[in-house]
C-alpha cells in the first residue's frame, strides 16, 4: 500500500486553505454581460464550515464553480477578484495548473447523486481515478486506495463493491461515493453544493454526519451550499446569505439564527416550515427579479418591506451589533 503523501501545502501555508477576494462572476447573454456573483469575499479555515445560503438562482453554484474553475465555457467567466486555494492563486494560474489543483487540493460534491457519477464506469475506478491522475498511482494501487476510501465513507462491504456500478447503489450510498471521490487525494478544501437536497431526510442525516466526521479527521475547509436553514443550523460554523449575486449577510451561525438582521434573512427564516414550535411559512412576497431586471443598488429592494430611497445605492457589507464577524448589507439595519 502506497502512502499518499500529505498535501505539501499543509506545511507551506498556514493561512486559510480557501480565500476568495472580491470575486465577480458574469454570464454572457448575447452581447450583454450580467454579474451573477458580485464582489464576494470570504475565507475558510481548516475544519471550518462556511454555509452559503439563499434562494434558488441567487448565485451559489456560480460561486462554487468559480472557485473550482469549472464555469460553463462561453457562458460565464470570472471577471474580477482573486481566488486562492491552498496558497495558489487560481485566477492567475494557467489552466494546466488549475487542472492539477482540482481533485487534488480542492474537491467538490455535487447536488445530484443520481447523475453525478458516471453510469458506465465502476465505482472503484471513479473513486481512484483522481489518484492515478494526480499522484501517478497504478490502477492496482488506486483500486486498493479506493477500497480504503469507500470503507472510510462507510460503504458496507466496500471491497466487494469496487466493481459495482452507480445504478446498483442507492441515493445515499452514491452520495457517499461522491464524498469518497472528492476526498480521494486528501484535498484541503471541499465544496459541497447542495449535497443532500436530493436525499430523504433520514439519509440526509447520515450523509451530513459522515461529512462532519471526515472534516474533523482531515482538517478540511468546507464550503457548504444549501438553502435548507435547518441543515445550516446543524452543521455550519458561519453563514453567508446571498441574494441576487450579493452577499447580504455574513455571520457566525449562532448569531445568525439569534439575530437574522438583513430583511431577506429574516424573511427566509420565516418561510421555513418547522416541525415543532410556532411560526414559519411566511412567504416572501414577489419573486427574485431576473438577471436582466435587477434593480440598481440593493437587489432585494423590490421585495423589501423596509425599502427606503437610499436603497437605490448599493449598501456596503457593514458590521452590526458591534460584532465584526456579523456583517450585513442593508442601509436600514447596519450600524450607523
Amino acid at each position: 500500500m502506497t502512502a499518499i503523501p500529505a498535501p505539501a501545502a499543509t506545511a507551506a501555508t498556514d493561512g486559510p486553505p480557501l480565500i476568495v477576494e472580491h470575486l465577480t462572476t458574469s454570464i454572457h447573454v448575447g452581447s450583454d454581460r450580467h454579474d451573477v456573483v458580485r464582489d464576494i469575499s470570504f475565507s475558510i479555515g481548516p475544519r471550518e464550515t462556511l454555509a452559503l445560503v439563499g434562494e434558488s438562482g441567487c448565485g451559489k453554484s456560480m460561486t462554487a464553480l468559480s472557485v473550482m474553475g469549472l464555469l460553463p465555457a462561453g457562458v460565464a467567466s470570472v471577471t474580477a477578484g482573486r481566488i486562492v486555494v491552498d496558497g495558489v492563486d487560481m485566477t492567475a494560474a494557467a489552466e494546466a495548473k488549475r487542472e492539477s489543483m482540482r481533485g487534488d487540493r480542492i474537491g467538490m460534491i455535487f447536488q445530484e447523486p443520481m447523475t453525478s457519477l458516471n453510469p458506465v464506469l465502476p465505482i472503484g475506478f471513479q473513486v481512484g481515478e483522481a489518484l492515478m491522475q494526480h499522484h501517478g498511482l497504478t490502477r492496482k494501487q488506486a483500486r486498493a486506495r479506493a477500497c480504503e476510501l469507500l470503507e472510510r465513507v462507510r460503504v458496507p462491504a466496500a471491497a466487494d463493491r469496487l466493481d459495482a456500478y452507480p445504478h446498483q447503489f442507492s441515493g445515499g450510498m452514491r452520495q457517499r461515493v461522491m464524498i469518497a471521490l472528492a476526498l480521494a487525494c486528501r484535498p484541503r478544501v471541499l465544496i459541497a453544493d447542495e449535497p443532500t437536497t436530493a436525499l430523504d431526510v433520514t439519509i440526509q442525516a447520515q450523509v451530513l454526519a459522515l461529512l462532519a466526521d471526515l472534516q474533523e479527521k482531515e482538517g478540511l475547509a468546507v464550503l457548504l451550499i444549501t438553502h435548507n436553514l435547518g441543515v445550516v443550523a446543524s452543521v455550519a460554523d458561519r453563514v453567508m446569505v446571498m441574494y441576487g449575486g450579493d452577499v447580504v449577510e455574513s455571520a457566525p451561525v449562532a448569531a445568525f439564527f439569534a439575530r437574522p438582521t438583513h430583511p431577506y434573512s429574516s424573511a427566509l427564516l420565516a418561510a421555513m416550515p418547522r416541525i415543532e414550535g410556532e411560526g414559519g411559512l411566511q412567504p416572501i412576497p414577489g419573486q427574485v427579479p431576473t438577471l436582466t431586471e435587477m434593480p440598481v443598488g440593493c437587489r432585494f429592494q423590490s421585495r423589501c418591506p423596509l425599502r427606503i430611497d437610499r436603497c437605490a445605492l448599493l449598501p456596503p457589507l457593514a458590521a452590526v451589533g458591534g460584532d465584526p464577524d456579523h456583517r450585513v448589507r442593508c442601509w436600514v439595519r447596519m450600524d450607523t
Binding site: 442507492s170 430523504d200 431526510v201 433520514t202 439519509i203 451530513l208 454526519a209 438553502h227 443550523a233 446543524s234
Partner: protein, 326 residues
C-alpha cells in the same frame, strides 16, 4: 377547522398494487415490487390528509391508483359513494371532474408545446364548461386564483419558474371544480420561499372552496403546517396514522420517530443529532420479512423479524403498526 364528517368523501380500503419489471441481461428475470401492500385510509370532505414516507414507499402510487391512472390489483376506492375501481369509462369521466391531481414534477406534467391558455382551456372545452371566446376569461380567472397574471396566458410552460409552473398545475386541477385534490409533493421541488407561497395558496383554496386534499410529501415540516391528519407509509404499508400535532409531538412508530429526529430545525441550539442510522432503506423488490422496518429499527425484537405488525388503534384517532408501540 372542519370536523370529520361521518361518511368520508374518499375511502381507500386495503389497496394493493404490484409492479412487475423484467430486468437482466441477457436473460431477463421478472421481479415484483409491491408498491402498495394493503393501504387503507379515509379523507373527509374539506379535510387535508398528509401522506408521508420516504422516496419509493408508494405515495404517488396511491394517488395514481385511486385516480385509475393505473389499475389496482386489489382493494377498493370509494369516492362519495361511488366505487371508483369498478366505474365505467363514462362514470369515470364524471368522477374525474370531481377528483383531480397535482403532479409531483410540474415540468413533466405540462405539455411543453401548449400555451397556458390552451393547457387550462382544454379541459373546460372537453367537458363543455366553456367554449369559444368564453374560455379565455375563465382561464384568466383560474390563473388569477392561483396568483398568476393575465400575461401568463399566452406563454409556454418553459417560460415559467418552477414555482409558477406548480401554480399552473394547481390551476389545472382546479379547472373542473373538483372536491378532492391529490397533491403529489407539490412543493418538494421548490425553494423554501416559493414553497411557502404555494402552501399559502393551497390553504386559501381549501378554505374558500371547501376542498379536500390528499397531500403527499416527505417533509414533516410542510405536512405539519398544512395537514389535519397524517398517514405515515413505509415500503408500501401504512405504519402510523393520527392527527397532526399529536403525531409530531409524540410519534409512536420508530420510523416516524426517525423521520422526526432526522428533520433539521433552523435553530442551532436545537441542532438535530446527525446520526449514522444503521442500514440502508431496504430494496422494495425484496423487502425484509416481518416488519419491513426492522433492519433499521433500534428496538427490533425477534418477533419483528418474522411477524408483520398490523395497524391497530392506540389512542383515539391514532393507529400504529408496531409490535412494541403502546
Amino acid at each position: 377547522m372542519n370536523a370529520i364528517p361521518a361518511t368520508p368523501l374518499l375511502d381507500i380500503r386495503d389497496l394493493r398494487k404490484s409492479f412487475t419489471s423484467r430486468r437482466g441481461w441477457p436473460i431477463a428475470r421478472t421481479s415484483v415490487v409491491k408498491a402498495l401492500d394493503g393501504v387503507s385510509f379515509t379523507v373527509g370532505a374539506g379535510e387535508v390528509v398528509g401522506v408521508v414516507g420516504e422516496s419509493g414507499c408508494g405515495k404517488s402510487t396511491v394517488a395514481r391508483v385511486a385516480l385509475r391512472l393505473q389499475e389496482a390489483d386489489g382493494g377498493s376506492v370509494n369516492f362519495d359513494g361511488a366505487d371508483v375501481l369498478e366505474a365505467s369509462k363514462i362514470d369515470m369521466r364524471a368522477i374525474r371532474r370531481r377528483m383531480q391531481m397535482v403532479f409531483q414534477d410540474p415540468s413533466s406534467s405540462l405539455d411543453g408545446r401548449q400555451r397556458i391558455v390552451d393547457a387550462l382551456g382544454e379541459p373546460l372545452r372537453v367537458h363543455g364548461l366553456a367554449s369559444g371566446a368564453a374560455v379565455r376569461p375563465m382561464v384568466a380567472r383560474l390563473l388569477d386564483e392561483v396568483g398568476l397574471p393575465n400575461s401568463a396566458l399566452d406563454r409556454y410552460p418553459h417560460e415559467f419558474s418552477g414555482g409558477q409552473r406548480q401554480r399552473i398545475g394547481i390551476a389545472r386541477a382546479l379547472a373542473l371544480g373538483p372536491d378532492l385534490i391529490f397533491a403529489d409533493e407539490p412543493v418538494s421541488a421548490l425553494d423554501v420561499s416559493v414553497q411557502a407561497q404555494i402552501l399559502k395558496l393551497l390553504e386559501t383554496l381549501r378554505a374558500e372552496r371547501h376542498l379536500a386534499f390528499v397531500f403527499i410529501s416527505h417533509d414533516l415540516g410542510v405536512v405539519r403546517y398544512f395537514c389535519r391528519r397524517v398517514v405515515v407509509m413505509y415500503l408500501g404499508r401504512v405504519v402510523e396514522t393520527g392527527p397532526v400535532p399529536e403525531i409530531f409531538v409524540d410519534p409512536r412508530h420508530p420510523y416516524t420517530r426517525l423521520l422526526k429526529v432526522s428533520s433539521p430545525e433552523p435553530d442551532p441550539t436545537r441542532a438535530v443529532a446527525m446520526t449514522f442510522q444503521e442500514g440502508e432503506p431496504p430494496s422494495p423488490v425484496d423487502p425484509p420479512k416481518g416488519c419491513h422496518f426492522h433492519p433499521r429499527c433500534p428496538l427490533a425484537i425477534d418477533r419483528c423479524r418474522v411477524e408483520s405488525p398490523v395497524l391497530r388503534d392506540v389512542a383515539p384517532g391514532r393507529s400504529v403498526a408496531c409490535h412494541l408501540a403502546t
